[in-house]
Symmetry: D2
Subunit: 342 residues, 4 copies
């Protein structure tokens, strides 16, 4: 029986992440065996190490991924050997690839056909590995809120989601995109500028003043809070466009953060300015995934500045650390190396 | 020149509220002199005393009112002497009756015709004095959010706005209305039950558990936070219906509180449960006022349990105190007594 | 093997409806055998006779129904023998009870558990037989559009759906409900008045004038077209509230008709008045059915004036004819009589 | 007293358009005298000639325009002599520049300050003359409906509005834009292709088949009907994305046509496919104009292929004729020639 090295959460509790020798999975008649090309490390992978996110141990992690069909079950119709593909990680009630069911931090992964989306040969597999981020970005910026042509947009927090949102806001025709971060985020903020942010503002400088000045006192029609800090929530509320009379809802704030604890904020302007706040999580099933794959195919995003490092699974400790210290923006594992496909 | 006694904020700062002898106002050709029948004391009147709300001193307070046309300017067409009427308090940019321009805590008040809404003879003037509360309630429960037939509704905070919202939710066909308050709010909570609340829950008991149990784990489609406390915000989030996947927005929380300070809350479930939060303040111009007057005319609200006391202006200190200590729910001034009209 | 008499479409084409002797169905382990109490005759049953609606022959018709669990499959958990229940007719892709799969025009019907909704013992089975109409009404009046407290509502066409919508509009707090029909619909129009219509208007009299006069030139916020006539569409457009400037969408027209042919209308006011038209069909899965069963349980509708006749299956020709000639509003089959349950 | 030649509707009825010698207007203290640079000929100018649109004779026509402040009233603050500007044509209740009040088919026009929007020096005045079309396009494509990134879009009718909508749909990130016209519209259809239409389809060929094929049977999320024909309405309905079950509203059709007569259409798919139809007319006040001027300033539209001819007022008969015969797409008058500004 063939075996492989997989990066796994082997038991409940803090830590307990190890490289383990496990069998290459068998597949059923409705499943596909993916040879993994790229597997992104998500913030929730770090939270699983810290025991702050749900999971089911033992499990191979890795839920942002792309690869090629290596073996195909006999009933599978939409994919054939050699096809590039990505997949929705939600396979069934409670079954999440890379979280509760074995995922992509391994050379091979078993994927049910019904969650698979084929990707054209011309799309780089490295970019395809970012599909789940496109899914989340599309959901928050077009399904939970609608950034419209001419809107002013503020993004709080220059992490991978924030940098994707900067790009997507420009694709939607946003007028000006403001990116807010800490002074210690300078490297990430510069990536934001590179992919289209019109204004870089520092949390330490009271960025709401700048937003109000530059928008002639109007504020931003759309604000995304993805900093996971109480201060970020306050910036979001303070930068949003207020509607002190009339029907309300001129300024929309989307939350995609988990703060993991109580935060302290002044919410008075939510009431007075008749703001809309919308939580965003997950996605809207096939509808969102089909849109995301379409955006991927059209090559609308610039992923090169976003993916800042590439690792083998054996260097996982370095990779995790580089994300905790914000040295990297998005780091990718390549469990089979990068030479065999592109 | 005729004079009258008016209750006025006479100077900036804390306090400075006094009964003053002032002239009965002259009216212009587009104005009406109202003989005031009822003038409700609002929470913001207390805040003006405490110097925590905007105002322009010196000014006669009183912005919730009803009365009769006593004298009518020569160009006025929609009102004639003897007509009952109410009025939108927003007369022009920055001109708010009872806040920045003289209001209804006096026997007579000057009102521009363009903000006036006539009320039928058959409508009790006492009820008409509640129109501004209907305006605010309609705005939050039908314009900022839409309570639908069959929705489960949670109201946090049994103040005048909360009690009105309980009634309005039932008018909208809500399935079950839950009213949450402190144990020390028992008197107000019982008024809530009297006007239709199906379940009375106490903040001290963890009311979200009861809401989830009674709704079979679903939560409430609509939650109104009007307690002005951090705990109230937490209850609101915890009681709302979550949408952990799909398009989101199954649970809508409306804020109509001003907390006046930072509060400490856990917002994780806003993101995860894809909640909608909507601030509500003011109203949507004539659209809202016309709806409110129509509701008043149809007699849909039961105001008797809501209006718990009646005062002359000379007893204003008692009246204010009874509201601060929550002995009253809604208290009314009758600057001309109650015998001359009904 | 036990047999029963069932009313079936036995072959494709016009006609071909017959009472046939067929076996009482066997049930699988996830199914329930319903003893049918009431089975409403829908307009689409007439269309199936005329070969103008989709179906799969041979098939037992009947898709509006209520009954009691007579036998229960071994894996069934949510229903036990003797329970009252109703069911969503959409069992799977393309499988519609009473249309493509055997339905309720028979003493017994096989129903998969996953589409079943239990009904309390206290709810009359006759009323439960109307659940699918509540489903359709809820979808159009709360999910496709939102009738709000204070809205003026026009219903065009006093068929079963129109009469249900009159009632539902009142439950939503509508201000005035106008019901429009032909002079030959007098009997149905009077039922509309009985269940709450404030104004009865005749198509022949130019009802849009009356609607505009009574609403002071404003028109109706919500109009339902369920007359299936070109004239009805024109009335709907002409009665709706126009928004000649501003954001638009003040008047919402819902279509639930199939006209079955081209119609001739003037649509200019749709553009000029910035109307919203929304087609409504089917429903929103479990979400709608759960709401409908809740409304049924709360007894909010008055079904007595709506259900105007009761038939045995053997009298099906009389029953169908009475609906074609509009002598009845809603007619019910009772394949097992009415004595055995209530 | 200085005079000038103006193109005027001089009396009610068909025809009655003449070049007349009239005084150069005086301005009040809150008004600006515009020296007109470009004045577009709109379809409604032709309708006024045909007596099929409202107007108030005698009146100088011309409501799509740009120019320079030639003289400025003493209270005017936002404009100074020499500034480029455009203006909302709705000056007050019933007062429409170029329709009921003298407009821009003349060398000089009086404009109240409150409807003026300044345009930067760098923006070509020829482009600024298209602002009202941007206003209408923004209103229909972002305010009445929201074209989202990845939507498939169908435009029916390759007139000036249709060609602008093709461009705007691409700015919004539409996936594929289909433009439908008659075979005799070939010239206009090719302009559509030039500004971004992905697919040109002919009304005569049953374009809905192509739309369905190319979108894999899904249909278009957004369809604009601007052909003013019954056939166009049918194409719009047939090309839209249907939602045969679920919440509905997957396909949105916007009407901006006036057909001027009854049309014959089959609306069954509006009900069955749960379509949304939204009429669009006018705009949403300052909100829309500010967005439109911002889009103009950003240079997002390619106007060169759209403006196909330039005329002096004296050639008005040729100009009108060229539009009636669809030889031109958008034709501009330059009442002061084109040499004096740019």
């Amino acid at each position: 029986m063939a075996t492989m090295q997989a990066l796994r959460k082997i038991a409940e509790g803090v830590g307990h992440i190890e490289l383990q020798e496990v069998p290459v999975p068998d597949i059923g008649s409705d499943e596909v065996l993916m040879k993994v090309y790229a597997a992104g490390i998500c913030g929730s992978d770090l939270l699983i190490e810290e025991d702050k996110h749900f999971y089911r141990a033992p499990v191979t992690q890795g839920h942002e991924f792309s690869g090629v069909a290596y073996k195909v079950g006999k009933n599978v119709k939409r994919v054939k050997e050699g096809d590039k593909f990505v997949a929705d990680i939600e396979c069934g009630a409670g079954d999440w690839l890379g979280v509760t069911v074995d995922g992509a931090f391994a050379p091979f992964m078993r994927v049910p056909e019904h969650v698979i989306y084929r990707v054209s040969d011309g799309v780089p597999l490295l970019h395809a590995g970012m599909t789940e981020l496109i899914v989340a970005t599309h959901h928050l910026i077009q399904e939970r809120a609608q950034v419209k042509v001419g809107d002013d947009v503020v993004i709080v927090g220059p992490g991978p989601m924030g940098i994707m949102a900067v790009q997507y806001a420009k694709i939607c025709g946003a007028r000006q995109v403001f990116l807010i971060g800490l002074k210690s985020d300078e490297k990430r903020l510069q990536i934001g500028r590179q992919v289209g942010a019109d204004h870089i503002l520092y949390s330490e400088d009271g960025p709401e003043k700048a937003v109000m000045e530059i928008t002639n006192g109007k504020g931003a029609e759309f604000v995304l809070e993805c900093s996971a800090s109480g201060k970020g929530v306050q910036h979001a509320i303070d930068c949003a466009r207020k509607a002190y009379e009339g029907p309300g809802g001129k300024g929309v704030v989307v939350f995609i953060s988990l703060w993991g604890q109580e935060i302290t904020v002044n919410l008075d302007q939510v009431s007075l300015g008749q703001l809309d706040i919308r939580g965003s999580w997950s996605w809207n099933g096939r509808e969102t995934w089909e849109h995301a794959v379409d955006l991927l195919e059209r090559g609308l995003f610039d992923f090169e500045p976003v993916i800042t490092a590439h690792y083998g699974l054996e260097d996982w400790e370095d990779a995790f650390k580089s994300l905790r210290t914000r040295q990297n923006l998005k780091a990718m594992f390549h469990p089979n190396g990068t030479d065999w496909a592109s």
